[in-house]
Symmetry: C2
């Protein structure tokens, strides 16, 4: 098994558990990847960009399976990989509840005034006339009710919110109740106090949140993004925040990451910028290693792998 | 009925509902209070300090009942009032769930990194190596499980936390399970990841959180105060935060309010300062008016009032 991108000096935490199960090589750079990929049956795609893999892919004669360390695989899938027989598995499941906690946390930070408190605090300003908003009873719209969006819905309902969902198609969901298809997005946005974007990035979801989407939202509503930055037309979001078309945003993902220093989002008082860490709880690498080790066992036994991605659709679980 | 402190220019929101039920006078200042109190049977104690009432109390020959607009009545009870036959009722109940939402919000703000995000944001710093902490599974100790503490416990359990409680006495509680008495406080503190102080202020609870209490806590633990500032030895708290004896604090109440500009708490990066508003949701005045109107009806019908305070104990509901 080959790991890209990793070195002996900076190995994936817990990778020693794999040594008992497979011959292990670490590729710290694109050159080593190109050199070693011809022998590899399994690739663990860890903290890597897809460019070097795409370039080396023609040499990957024995490659059967790629395990990603992420839930989103838009950063991995390239046309030759999609067209190939190579199986892709992701790390879905382990990030769901941590991301749901972040989402509940930012909603409560807006509603109960934590964001305002921290800003006032810098000026030593005591504003005892402020009011808080209740979260119980507020309406949350989950756009993209895959495993992450469903975990968000579950936690938000537990906190008394009214939750609805817009997914990839109209359906009746055992847990969520009626899920509406993409055509209902703007109507659903108009009714929401909080909107969480938990979409996978595909050709169809790119810029799903555009100027028209933000215009459909309440001026008092907040937009949260735990999906992918490119599902949002970021200049349109900045404009909606600046003009007061929406009331605030909490963003863990951006069109360009790290968020450029020149982005106006950094300085907006009604925005929480999070550096793509909302799922990266203390111990997440170990949880990913559990998935890899489990899948290596299945692979050795010739059993179906867990967390297989539908490469044509571009994601692992329906939403 | 007399309202102190209020004027025609600045009446309690919704007070017009009372005009149909009682003769209404508003006392905007201590002089008017002293002048009108001799005729009043009922006093609505609204946004007022007790000093003027204490001074005028000897003239309150007809006073039968005081309705407070707060849950905590430590700011109202003075010895002559406690010794008198005047019934005191408070506004308990309406603030419980909003305060619980604030408490969950600050815990999640620490755990999921919202506090760090907002600080990093000011420096346009992208720290993608940060980790979040899970709230599910973390241990919350509720000190003072009255109605507010119980609401906090309920919401925290709903979010997957492990909740225990230290109350006024050892008991087995239907909802909370075993509640330990004050003697178990330091042992309980040693096991907690989050500690919420929801104590009423009485002679017995003053400075319940002192240097020894903070020394008993984990260095990774956060202290939250939704009770009363004077239940905490504030210099000892500042020292515990500065020395790293505890990891952070979220404070809605302080020994002196507004918090003096010179307080070191304002500038501590691991502290959330909230200006005694955590229960003051949009619409709280109307909810207080519901209590007053309900009690005026009971009073007129000669029925027992709701939310009667045990003046000798210094609070309304057991904890």
């Amino acid at each position: 098994m080959l790991v890209f991108e990793a070195s002996d000096d900076d190995p994936p935490p817990g990778i020693e558990r794999v040594r008992a199960l497979a011959d292990l090589d670490l590729a710290p750079d694109p050159e080593t990847l190109a050199e070693l990929i011809g022998e590899a049956e399994v690739l663990f795609f860890y903290r890597a960009a897809r460019g070097p893999l795409e370039e080396a892919f023609a040499r990957a004669a024995r490659l059967r399976w790629i395990q990603s360390a992420s839930a989103g695989v838009d950063g991995l899938l390239f046309p030759e990989l999609v067209a190939s027989d190579v199986v892709v598995t992701n790390a879905r499941g382990i990030f769901d509840e941590p991301i749901a906690e972040w989402t509940l946390g930012v909603m409560l930070s807006f509603a109960t005034g934590v964001v305002t408190s921290l800003a006032d605090q810098r000026e030593r300003r005591w504003n005892g006339w402020r009011r808080t908003e209740r979260l119980a009873g507020a309406r949350l719209l989950v756009v993209g009710p895959g495993p992450i969006g469903r975990a968000v819905a579950r936690l938000a309902r537990g906190a008394g919110m009214q939750v609805s969902a817009v997914g990839s198609r109209d359906r009746d969901d055992d847990e969520l109740g009626p899920v509406r298809g993409p055509g209902a997005l703007h109507d659903a946005l108009a009714a929401a106090d909080f909107v969480v974007d938990a979409l996978p990035l595909t050709a169809a979801t790119r810029h799903r949140f555009d100027a028209a989407a933000f215009a459909a939202m309440k001026t008092t509503a907040r937009f949260l993004n735990v999906g992918r930055g490119e599902t949002v037309d970021e200049p349109a979001l900045v404009e909606a925040l600046a003009s007061g078309a929406i009331a605030g945003a909490a963003l863990d993902v951006f069109e360009e990451e790290p968020l450029p220093e020149t982005s106006p989002l950094w300085a907006m008082p009604n925005v929480i910028v999070s550096p793509h860490v909302c799922g990266e709880f203390e111990g997440w690498e170990s949880a990913v290693m559990d998935v890899l080790v489990d899948n290596l066992g299945r692979y050795a036994r010739g059993e179906p792998l867990r967390n297989v991605v539908d490469k044509a659709l571009g994601y692992g679980a329906g939403w």
